[in-house]
Point group: D5
Chain length 146, copies 10
């Protein structure tokens, strides 16, 4: 669904420039995860963000319309096979019901929005092995009764 | 797969006692999400944790073996239909590849463990609508080359 | 997932009393579709709404906790086989992309909430054959950039 | 299944001309959602509608046969991953049975046609956040007994 | 989904009475296939039809509400395994596109209704082996343009 | 699985010549549905039928081997999304068991062949809306006991 | 789908009597594989065959109607997990296309019937390890052209 | 998975030479079904077999490495749609359990190998309609206990 | 598919007796993994092994027939959700093709038998974290050419 | 998902050079299975390993970035059809629960890592038929309680 060629072009340019997503965060003023989402056709940039990005990566401004359009989103396979991505599927399988109960006990009947939502990744250094910390923050949306 | 009756018994006792998972956190000394996992047959307690739990809930000690055994884990349906749980599936679909790239850029080829792992849920009060904050923290496991 | 017995009990009592969902709308003060959702374990009532409902249907107050709990939602089969329900699947298959484009052209990148959402059904009399009118109304949620 | 290239050509021309689907509604005399369906290969135009469309978009009349043929319809993936489109799947999952009951209570055993059917999208401005209103209107088809 | 017990009760009574569906056709005044649909919870009878049926089968009038309700329809497994039923799936797989083209060439863009629809089965005696003749007759529904 | 290019070539030539499948029926001496099956790679022609067809359509005799080979048959997606084709899937879902019972009551344990089989489509004019009549005729094959 | 209890009863009685399927072949006068099919609800017996079977197994004549009815057939899971049964799935996966080509080269476009069909299993003793020989014999059914 | 182009090349050359698989059996000294497996990328030839084959078909020796490599095997779709191939799936669905019981009664707990395995197809002429005879012969492999 | 009650009975008795699978290995004279397979209905015991097992566990000899019958094997869900079991699915997904190439390079075209097969699990103590060692040993089965 | 062209290039060069994976093990200093994983896009090399590999295979250094990137891993089809690979799926289906029980009895609640993991394949010569020995060795990861 995503524009695979665009993803390849962006990743290749980023590699050629020796830039990390964290470097792009500084330039674009958006979180590195959000920028990676843009690379993978899972988010849409403003004209200004797209311009800065193609300029930074030394790419043609012809890419701007692709970066600003509203993409059809999603990864594809129903159960992902990549081990890193699968672990998030597993977390949903194992902790889905517990999270539902704890969230709804705190907030009532409703959900955590995945749209009014941010996701942050941090490296927590630890002598026993560094740790990945993923912080998801989404607006609570209570079910409307009508 | 999970022991549905055990789950029902535990939830009913908790409701009857007017306790929240946060209250149980104080008693058992473990996070409320972990305790909810125990309720849903997704984790195994020590003898001591199981004893404290049944005592607090006013349940029979006969339940202890069920609480301490190593359960066969997982929710079941391939794509969950409950909206709250689905949002975590959606996050995996939309942010799976971006998370993979950002994590591997920071850590190298490997994954975030879903076993040496903690998950914390907090309510962030916000005048524009309270927010759910989910913090996942898993050890980074680099691929071994052999 | 839903509590099938509860659904059966509620439907049988409603039939025995000769009540329609529209009648219940008048009593409970909520839309008939929402009340039907409650019957099918897809919504949670307040204590007051649940009391009124069991009283109106001549059922035991023991059902109140079931009606006020936060249910695990969803119909189950991936592609529904019932023809009436399938037509809504078909509408999503045929008009999904067109709706996406028209909505996002009017609102920008984002979605229509299915949580902050109402759904109304009306009978439009028509000499050439009566028509079903379904009005869905959901808050637009723009994608957050972070 | 749909002719992806045709879709791309039409969308690109529309963007180049700076036209919205609402603008095309005025030109073609059909609803914007129906026109978007035509763009996505989910509807067939008359010769006259197709001519007006290619003329308005500055495209070749060679596209007319593609626009007037009777397409093989549908989106493809069984459960859509795009969040906007998924919400309509979720509505079917959550409100499918309630809608069935309310519709059949009002009309008897039968269905809402998805063929003798219109779909309208409106933006409802609201200070607490604009709302998407989707109105579906389909002929009720009673089951024939024979 | 269908009420399996009801089906069993009806079939057992019909067997005990030594009646065929064709016999019931004479009594009820509806086609044998339609009556079989009623047995399998795929159609709803009028009060009068249901009364005649239970009387003919020597069953309790308590079954009437089950026979007159609007059932949730469908067989269940996505691809049927029973060889007789599978052949109809195969016909759809092999002749689906050809039927679509021939029907739409004769009628324009639209479908054959499966609701305003009758289905008749006849035995055609043939010295080289008797033949099953299935006649489906459904109203053509043209796509509405709006 | 089918040879999509061959299908496109045949359909385009038929359109260019302004011929219907009914016209081809007259030329080839086979039913229009069978000819449409040939177009969609679901049947194999004799040398003579293939020659007549390419001649009538003004196409190269190079296509004859493709038309006479024994194709690997089938539509592909497990549950079709095109509404016209889906209705035949729905008929199998709703009337599968009833047809099984009526056929087996008339014939004994066995099936209707989908190979020694013909399928005819007729337009039944009707002031209340024209009707599609599909007549399937297949040899009854009794289960062999051995 | 099959009547699991009937299967269990028959197997238990056969075990208690110390009979093999080959023994039953002698009594009933039908092949042991066909008799096993009857045990598993995949075939229907004549009154006489059913009587002989229940008599031989020392079971009640109440089972006769279950043995003579026309069962809804099939194993169930789409891909079988039992290793012995899976091997037949594998043979279809690996040798499906080669068998199709060789059969159709010998017979023309058509299929091997699985209804006018027998299946025989023999033990071929071999010093290097005994071998299972499965002989399938089905009528060739040529595609009808119409 | 299979090398489709190689299959096409081999089939075209065979057709051009007017050879049947039975003719190739004489030349290569292997069964026609095995040779068809080689054509469809489901078996690997020795250097000598591959040489003879390309020579007989008048093809380049460049194809030899493709013919001698160890292919990744299998047909692909989970449930095949081609009617001839599907019948083998149906046989597994209907006769899977009966075959399991008869084989294990004769041999003990174990399976028929699909690797140390041969498959032969014969045409049995019959005035009532020719018959396809498929003989499968596989080594019995008893489960090892350890 | 497996006899869940039997599994529960065996596990409960083993727990009550305070025995490990390793203890049972000493008693029965078979590997602990094979004994666990027997517990889960994935293997069949000899009369003698079954007798020793029920005696050791203090269970009724009535269980012997269940332990000696040839079970229908397999776990069930297509993709397992339990994290420990999933890792073996993941190993197949990630290392399937590499294992195929290395095995076939060493042995030629063929497979590792999963029937003439043993599986051993050992705990390798390691100061950096103990390790699980799984040793699979299966007979190589070369593809037969015929 | 994997880079199929890269795989083909590497395999072709290896074949042309007449090298086995075991030969590459000597050159690269990593296990042959791990090297095969690299060929199939299931592992990432260091710059040095990639350099040695392309040099040994006589390939361009342009391939180095592809060999050192962190691939999206996995085979693809949910249930593999290749017989060699399927056997590992079967082992998971048959021995999944027994392995879970034996591992957790030895180690407690947790899993065998498939990341901090090695896999070794050996040929065990045996007069009754050589055997494949696969040794998997993964770190035990205990579930963290928090």
């Amino acid at each position: 669904m995503a524009n695979v060629e665009l993803t390849q072009t962006l990743l290749a340019a980023k590699k050629a420039k020796g830039l990390t997503f964290a470097d792009l965060e500084t330039v674009i003023g958006c979180d590195e995860v959000w920028i990676a989402s843009l690379f993978y056709g899972q988010a849409s940039a403003s004209e200004e963000q797209a311009s800065k990005l193609v300029e930074t990566l030394g790419l043609s401004t012809d890419l701007i319309p692709e970066l600003t359009k509203f993409p059809t989103k999603g990864l594809g396979p129903v159960v992902p096979t990549d081990p890193l991505i699968y672990r998030f599927y597993e977390i949903m399988q194992i902790y889905g019901m517990p999270m539902k109960d704890v969230i709804q006990e705190k907030f009532g009947d409703g959900i955590m929005s995945a749209i009014d939502f941010t996701l942050d990744i941090e490296k927590i250094e630890d002598p026993k092995g560094d740790r990945v910390q993923v912080t998801m923050n989404g607006k609570f949306l209570p079910y409307k009764k009508w």
